[in-house]
């Protein structure tokens, strides 16, 4: 995983929404899509609070932006995603502020899929 900087959050802004996930008290992941904006200077992701599923402030959450382009008759391309992890806290403007601590992602345009797969082998063994 990589440290988060303003450029990381600027890339996240390129996604129209993020899927926010955390682990609930029963041990199951919970995921919900929501809109957001970022504050690069403060390294924060400001999440619009989903209804009925409060984003917890006592454990780590991950916000993931993901994109593909469907290609009818073929499948899809333009795969990319970016995940940002951190703790959330209520913000004065009513949003939930995720303090971005670490990030990980992949962009097919930068690293072709099969190269990415091969490069992932050592990491997956750690």
């Amino acid at each position: 995983m990589d440290a988060v900087d303003a450029a990381t959050l600027a890339r996240l802004e390129g996604y129209p929404f993020v899927v926010v996930s955390w682990v609930n008290d029963a041990g199951y992941p919970v995921s919900v899509a929501t809109t957001f904006k970022t504050d690069g200077a403060a390294r924060r992701v400001l999440l619009d609070e989903p209804g009925g599923l409060a984003i917890p402030t006592d454990r780590e959450v991950v916000a993931t932006g993901s994109h593909i382009r469907p290609q009818p008759g073929i499948g899809y391309d333009e795969r990319r995603y970016l995940s940002v992890w951190g703790r959330a806290a209520a913000a004065p403007d009513g949003t939930v502020a995720l303090g971005a601590e670490r990030a990980w992602g992949w962009d097919e345009a930068e690293t072709p899929f099969f190269e990415y797969s091969e490069r992932s082998v050592p990491q997956s063994r750690r």
Binding site: S21, P50, H67, S117, S124, R126
Partner: protein
């Protein structure tokens, strides 16, 4: 065969990507965008047996969630859903077992897979694959995709809310 609400099954049948979230050994969540496959009862995803730690995470803690949230990846269907369930990693025979279990489902969504299969000898690591079989246990559904309102929640054999 399955119990998921019909609109959620529709999402599963068209989605080209869904976000699989698994739990790391330290209890933190990790999210992986993957192509979800559905046979009318179970959800299937798949992964190379060599490239990913997600399989090890699932073996340690099989509780997972699958988010279906991107209308672009779901033929414009704006509904959204999250399905919680228990996952099982099937990897007894990574060379051909996945083909028997999911190739017919995968091909429907990504026809190009047949072209890659023809070149499988050149991509041996990619085609040593494990199947992630997910049994749905709870479903959150947002009609119209509006997650600013509480989801409709359902579970097998009962309407939770």
């Amino acid at each position: 065969m399955g119990w998921l609400p019909e609109p959620v099954e529709e999402l599963l049948n068209v989605a080209l990507v869904g976000e699989l979230t698994v739990v790391r050994p330290d209890g933190r969540p990790v999210t992986h965008p993957l192509i979800p496959l559905y046979d009318g009862g179970l959800i299937f995803m798949h992964s190379s047996t060599l490239f990913s730690r997600k399989l090890e995470h699932i073996k340690r803690n099989p509780r997972v969630a699958v988010s279906l949230s991107d209308p672009v990846a779901m033929k414009g269907n704006a509904n959204r859903a999250t399905i919680q369930g228990t996952a099982n990693v099937i990897e007894d025979d990574p060379h051909s077992q996945w083909e028997r279990l999911i190739l017919h489902l995968w091909r429907r969504k990504e026809p190009a897979i047949d072209q890659f299969l023809k070149a499988r000898v050149a991509l041996p690591l990619f085609f040593e694959r494990a199947v992630i079989q997910i049994t749905p246990e709870r479903c959150f559904f947002w009609p119209g995709g509006d997650t600013s309102v509480a989801p409709q929640v359902s579970a097998p054999h009962e309407a939770v809310a």
